[in-house]
Subunit: 234 residues, 2 copies
């Protein structure tokens, strides 16, 4: 069995996978120090996890460090980038160009990190044909054609909640197998599709819970209580 | 002891707090069905948790439902909004008006949900004085004055990683006690300050891990491996 296929076959726990990007970010910070090696204690400190967990997680990558020396920073960084699939570009389509989708299309940070935005789609005829950050918005009905033209790896859903499931289904039908959902609703996908979720309102509402407990005054809301947490319109 | 103070004193586990906004969202969806009551099973289905967990979580709010009938949708919704502090507006300051901060300032979805953006601050003299979505960007040195003018409850950090800790410290010094950090780095805050973190690149990198494992082709990156995951410049 070749080295490469052995690496592909190793099973890394989901929770470890979720920590790898954070270790990588910490390694990039550590690289600024100019030191060629890093201890698990230092990596733990930078990443906010404990050293035993760091060592266990890195062992899944086949990295065990050297006693009294630590891990080779450059090699570990390379190994993580490779493991995370960051040595390639992954093409992104953003569906839904309301406020949030528009903001994400303009973000710019995706391309810099290896996730170039390859296409934008929307269902609203007033939005289709407009230009955002140099990309023309196309109709969502063209998703199959778009996927055939340029390999689309990751679909970002930034539609209203009511459209999210249909958009996910259409992305999957077009061959997209990773989805990042920003719509404030649950989306169901088949087991072979990866799904991650970001809900900015949830984060803010968790903060407001603690803010209120802390005795924060807040301001009189302009909205009646029963609509104060209504999902965004776009 | 008054009813109100009893409610304030009850201890709700952190994991339950994090699920409350998701229940509330599900309730708002359920309200669309027009039914006056909802079972824990239906709420579980809508929110993606199991019914036993839903019942346990709601019991922390003092809601036990009625056997064979379920929970009163409108009252539960009111109770959750109140518990989450959504019957008031919470003022937000966004620090760092690079791509992401700009995008967040333009998002619009915050104000609709009871989190109006009250101020924008940056350290770059080319950005200070510009107008974004009707708000003039002020210098971060004015943070104390801004907090004195208009109660600021939540600080959003959208600066580069290198500036994030200093910005957090300055927000806290100005009296901000809840922080949502978008900068790709760990920020330390005192125990009495609430901190939540959103890292879009981490979400994408987790997806690319699975995409690669699945045998996704990706595209040849224009970046060498060791810089493929460098933090964004802005």
């Amino acid at each position: 069995m070749a080295e490469g296929s052995k690496r592909q076959a190793r099973k890394i726990p989901e929770a470890t996978v979720a920590r790898l990007p954070i270790y990588l970010r910490s390694l990039l910070e550590a690289a600024g120090d100019g030191l060629p090696t890093i201890s698990s204690e230092r990596l733990a400190e930078l990443s906010g996890f404990n050293a035993a967990k760091v060592r266990k997680d890195l062992s899944y990558l086949g990295s065990y460090g050297t006693r009294g020396v630590g891990y080779d920073v450059e090699y570990l960084q390379y190994q993580m980038s490779r493991e995370l699939g960051l040595t390639k570009d992954w093409h992104v389509v953003i569906a839904g160009l309301g406020n949030l989708g528009h903001a994400l299309a303009n973000y710019g940070g995706f391309g810099d990190r290896g996730f170039p935005v390859a296409a934008l789609v929307d269902a609203d005829p007033r939005v289709v044909g407009t230009d955002i950050n140099g990309i023309t918005v196309r109709h969502i009905d063209e998703l199959d054609a778009i996927a055939a033209e340029s390999q689309i790896d990751i679909g970002i859903i930034a539609t209203p909640a009511s459209a999210a499931q249909e958009v996910a289904d259409r992305m999957i039908a077009a061959g997209v197998s990773s989805i990042l959902n920003f719509a404030p609703t649950i989306v169901s996908v088949p087991a072979e599709v990866s799904l991650r979720k970001v809900d900015l309102a949830v984060e803010l509402q968790i903060l407001s819970f603690y803010q209120q407990r802390r005795g924060g005054a807040g301001s009189t809301s302009s909205l009646p209580p029963e609509t104060a947490a209504a999902p965004p319109a776009g």
